[in-house]
Amino acid sequence: MRPGLNNLVEYTKAARFEKAGDKERLGAQSISEAERVNLAVTIGGIRMANPVTTGSGTFGFGPEYAPYVDLKRLGAITVKGTTLEPRLGNPVPRIVETPAGMLNAIGLQNPGVEAFVQDHLPYLREIGTPVIVNIAGNTVEEYAAVAGRLSEVGGVAGLEVNISCPNVKQGGIQFGTDPVMAAEVIGAVRASTQLPVIAKLSPNVTDIVAMAEGVAQAGADALSLINTLLGMAIDVQTRKPVLANIMGGLSGPAIKPVAVRMVWQVAQAVDLPIIGMGGIATPEDALEFILAGATGVAVGTANFVNPRATVEVIEGITTYCVKNGIKDINHLIGWAWKR
């Protein structure tokens, strides 16, 4: 070893310790206080130990982040969008970085529901954390079929229905931008499953409240909002769109203000629990959504930046509750307009 290396190793350990979760920083007394804070929430019948889940498509099927995060600690795991048949997805480039955000056009690459059930679900079941499966389709029937299949297999806590897909029967208009079509999808899914149904809304609409009301009437048990904002980027050197797919979905911290606004609007108008997402990277971000009216929160793009973002959010929420004398996280839901 080089001279002085021991010191450096110590230094590195110290630096890592500094980065340790807030829980560690709270000190012994507060740790017991932290343990007394109730973080458990229920979303459409899904009981979660804490409000934090993952953004579909940003956390794979779980094992990808297992080296960085104890998956047992998450409130739920929401996995990549699953369709009836396998999908190849789009050509590359599939992503491009934008100011405080990114665009993606993955094109729903996924192995199809059967391969999901055989190859991925067993691993997820083992963890014990509630598994929310994000589902998608190009026809109402496809949605219903995936939902039906996932209801039979056991180990799925709920379905998150991604309605931001093009309806191939109706010329490719997105289900998620028309309240009637959205309600149709949710209604069909509702009819084919006993599992909790979470409707995941697209933010690319004039009236998010109308969308939420539509899917609520169609039988959704909960809402996820928001999905990505439709955007694009052009390469000034090639003078062509950067993404092979031309347009993509904008996510990351950049979109947080839009997401918080939509949660705020919907929470006041519709009596369903909401999983808030869009740019959550820190405990404060998550708290913004909860104060706006979200019962749960999902960490999406931030996982790419900080693979421990999910647990750091959980720890930070706990610290906030201890410091502010909040005994139950449920008290904070909607505080910004309720009190």
Partner: protein, 295 residues
């Protein structure tokens, strides 16, 4: 796989655009294998947002250090170059599948910044008793990187520059052709081809040319590829490249093949593999280099 704040021990400016950054990460250095990469943050605000993938250029498990050889091409690498000794580097790794060490002879080919992952490869190959020839290429002398480091190993090093300002005038592809000719004249027969392996990293046109030579000569080839990355851990499916589907008869779809869990995803004769997990090193015979999707 670790994610940590590592102490930067050294940040050397090698040329106008190239830097060599060494950081302390004992556990990571013990796990790291040649051809693997790390995913680093290039700032601590949300802009730029994403991490940047960089290959491991130096792996020293004894000293507990790792080093990165990188070229400043945009905002991320530019910010990285501003970090200095004593500061922290947010780094995840080691990530991906590195090179596989096979055969008795190796030809290791690097073009431009593509040499980055090859230095630890050469060191390990030599340690395993494999005979190594290193072929380095660049436009001109200034573009040659880490040349001395390769020369310090026991490998035989040959250099080509497009403009002839250093080494042979020409490309590494020319050098490869010559080298293969002399190999097969010394080791004739099909059998002998299993005893050699070509390892390459560099610009896609260079890789394509090498791929064609190896393909037609049936020489084993391993390529290190690049693609834009989100997560770096296989979760986002951003970083795909096309690989051939190896037909296993009828129940092909059922077999989760060597590319991991998503083997079920196939078109007629290819599927997408993730560069960050199934790669960045791929076998030449598997990979389809042209990244545009055929219809």
């Amino acid at each position: 796989m670790f994610s940590c704040s590592a102490l930067i021990l050294k940040q050397e400016k090698l040329t106008n655009d190239h830097y060599l950054l060494t950081y302390l990460a004992p556990e990571m250095s013990q796990r790291a294998r040649p051809g693997q990469f790390v995913h680093v943050r290039c700032g601590d605000t949300w802009d730029p947002l994403l991490r940047r993938p960089l290959s491991l250029h130096g792996i020293d498990p004894e000293a507990g250090t790792l080093s990165l050889l990188y070229r400043v091409v945009g905002r991320g690498t530019e910010r990285l170059s501003r970090l200095s000794e004593g500061e922290c580097l947010e780094v995840m790794g080691p990530l991906g599948r590195g090179f596989q060490l096979i055969g008795r002879e190796a030809i290791v080919i690097g073009g431009g910044i593509g040499v980055a992952p090859l230095l630890p490869l050469v060191q390990v190959l030599i340690r395993q008793g494999i005979q190594v020839t290193v072929l380095l290429g660049a436009r001109s002398q200034e573009g040659l990187l880490a040349q001395e480091a390769f020369q310090k190993t026991e490998a035989r090093v040959e250099i080509a520059t497009d403009d002839g300002t250093f080494g042979v005038r020409g490309t590494v592809v020319d050098l490869l052709q010559k080298r293969l000719e002399s190999y097969s004249s010394v080791n004739p027969g099909e059998e002998a081809k299993r005893d050699i392996c070509v390892y390459a990293c560099g610009p896609v046109p260079m890789l394509s040319a090498i791929w064609q030579i190896c393909q037609s000569g049936q020489i084993p080839l391993q390529l290190s590829l690049e693609e834009r990355m989100g997560c770096g851990v296989g979760a986002c499916l951003a970083c795909v490249c096309r690989v051939k589907v190896v037909s296993n008869g009828e129940n092909q779809k059922k077999q989760p093949a060597q590319f991991g869990v998503d083997a079920a995803l196939t078109s007629q004769d290819w599927k997408y593999a993730r560069v960050c997990v199934e790669g960045p090193v791929f076998w030449g015979k598997e990979v389809i280099l042209d990244a545009t999707r055929p219809e």
